[in-house]
């Protein structure tokens, strides 16, 4: 039993390494950022009501499209996102949507406990009912990897 748990732990940690880092990938090109790098180079700030926080929040990070363009030299349209908790989803039309990669919230770096180390949000709530958090499905938490794919 102990051996199984140990192996499982090793495997889980291997998948999630390096801890609290973000990997970008487009075809063969792979770029890895530490959380420190992401925090230091942040260049976009946005203040708005956070449905998951139930209050006004100052978000700091990057415009997602520009961030991918600058680091992968691609005008991304569709991305596949992997999260630390094993969640995986595909986001489409990201070049025409107001998406932001958040690394700090109210001046504090995001840890897993605050749904970090990085998170995607939409900077326009689009008239949605903020009380209904199931309407914010595209706010992906605990992002580990973003891979740009061709349509």
């Amino acid at each position: 039993m102990n051996a199984v748990i140990t192996l499982l732990s090793i495997a889980l940690l291997a998948v999630s390494q390096p801890a609290l880092a973000l990997t970008l990938q487009y075809q063969n090109k792979v770029v890895v950022f530490s959380q420190q790098e992401l925090i230091e180079n942040r260049n976009f700030t946005h203040k708005m009501y956070g449905p998951f926080r139930r209050q006004e929040v100052v978000y700091e990070g990057y415009d997602l499209s520009l961030f991918l363009q600058q680091n992968l030299n691609v005008n991304a349209n569709t991305v596949v996102i992997d999260a630390i908790d094993g969640y995986k989803m595909t986001l489409k039309n990201i070049d025409s949507r107001p998406l932001m990669l958040v690394v700090k919230e109210d001046s504090k770096p995001l840890s897993i406990r605050e749904h970090g180390p990085s998170r995607i949000i939409e900077t326009d709530l689009g008239g949605r009912d903020v009380r209904n958090i199931s309407l914010f499905d595209d706010w992906v938490w605990m992002i580990k990897k973003i891979e740009v794919i061709d349509d």
Binding site: M1, I5, T6, R53, I112, I133, S134, L135, D137
Partner: protein, 376 residues
């Protein structure tokens, strides 16, 4: 102005009603469907009630890892890291604004998770903290139960809203149908009024154009017919013949037998001639005992033949007229075929009247046309 088609009006109203009803049904369905989607949206399965469940699952994942750490003779940092990661995930899925705002137990539960995490991080081997675990698990149950109740309330509210929607949709549908029926009734009334007015107008026009004694058209109708004819003439490429006939010695007939017999004779002659007329020909009473016939699309020989038949038919009526050479009522007839030049209505009457005069002058009871007129 063209009169609107009755069938089209009814069809229009029917289609309008159906369109409005379908639109109402669709709008209500979409609205209800939208509110249900918002309630039951589970596309990604991680929100609302699911989040507290996931937090619980991650926390329970820690238990075998702690057991492994406690049982191990040596430090196993990988298992410890994994246990800490599971604590963090448990914390993250409970650290939701909605839970913190709504449930008092959530903040203490989060603090408890950190306390347990701290124990594992420090590596202290200590007795199982039953009290703390119980507090956290109880909080999970409370939140889950409350979320279920909340969901049930929302569903109940949605159903109540849907019943209200259904009621107003029924009211809307009935109103639309009532409106459509009213509209149809108004159109029907308007149509019937229009039809009645049209019928009355036609009857009035017919009376105004008809000679009441002989039931032929009257002089006013003749004038209008000739005016219409000369307007089109000679552009209209057709053969038109005019016949003008007059009962011979009719004044003396009236003097001998009285006006009642005279009227009777006029009716008999007009009726007999009517039966001889081909289509399209119209029969007019010019005045007194004079009658006019306009034959359209008829050749010269046909018109002359008609005039001859009129002559014979009237004589064959065998109406006694002592002043006539034959002893019977006879007529004189003038026939004129229109030539390819401009005319006035008066000129046409004058032309055929001249030929009738020739027939009268040369013994009556005969047909005279332009050609025979020149020979006489």
């Amino acid at each position: 102005m063209t009169k609107p088609s009755r069938t089209l009006s009814i069809l229009g109203v029917g289609l309008l009603s159906i369109t409005v009803v379908i639109t109402l049904v669709l709008v209500n369905t979409v609205r209800f469907d939208g509110s249900l989607r918002a309630l039951f949206n589970r596309d990604h399965g991680i929100y609302d009630h699911a989040m507290v469940d996931r937090s619980k699952k991650y926390l329970l994942n820690v238990l075998p890892l702690i057991e492994t750490l406690n049982d191990a003779a040596e430090e196993n940092s990988l298992v410890r890291e994994e246990a800490l990661a599971q604590f963090d995930l448990a914390y993250a899925y409970l650290n939701i604004g909605r839970y913190l705002e709504r449930y008092e137990c959530v903040q203490p539960a989060l603090d408890d998770i950190l306390t347990l995490r701290d124990d594992v991080e420090k590596g202290a081997k200590r007795a199982f903290r039953y009290q703390i675990w119980a507090e956290i698990l109880t909080c999970y149950d409370d939140v889950g139960r409350s979320q279920d109740e909340l969901k049930a309330n929302l569903i109940e509210r949605a159903l109540i809203d849907s019943r209200a929607n259904q009621f107003w949709m029924n009211v809307g549908v009935i109103s639309v149908f009532a409106l459509a029926i009213m509209l149809w009734l108004l159109l029907e009334i308007q149509h019937r009024r229009g039809h009645k007015s049209e019928t009355e107008k036609e009857a009035w026009q017919s009376r105004a154009m008809t000679d009441h004694l002989t039931s032929t058209y009257n002089r006013m109708a003749l004038h209008e017919a000739l005016e219409s004819l000369v307007k089109q003439w000679p552009v209209a490429n057709e053969s038109v013949g005019l016949v003008f006939y007059d009962i011979d010695h009719f004044k003396q007939f009236n003097d001998s037998f009285g006006h009642v017999a005279g009227d009777q004779a006029l009716r008999q002659v007009a009726s007999t001639v009517n039966k001889l007329l081909p289509n399209p020909s119209n029969h007019y009473r010019f005045g007194g005992e004079e009658f006019f016939i306009v034959n359209r699309e008829t050749e010269h020989s046909e018109v002359v033949a008609l005039a001859d038949r009129i002559l014979s038919a009237v004589q064959n009526l065998n109406i006694e007229n002592p002043n006539s050479d034959t002893g019977m009522l006879t007529v004189s007839v003038g026939v004129y075929m229109l030539e390819q030049r401009d005319y006035t209505a008066e000129e046409l009457i004058m032309k055929v009247d001249e030929l009738l005069y020739v027939a009268k002058k040369h013994g009556r009871n005969r047909v005279v046309d332009e050609f025979t007129g020149q020979d006489i």
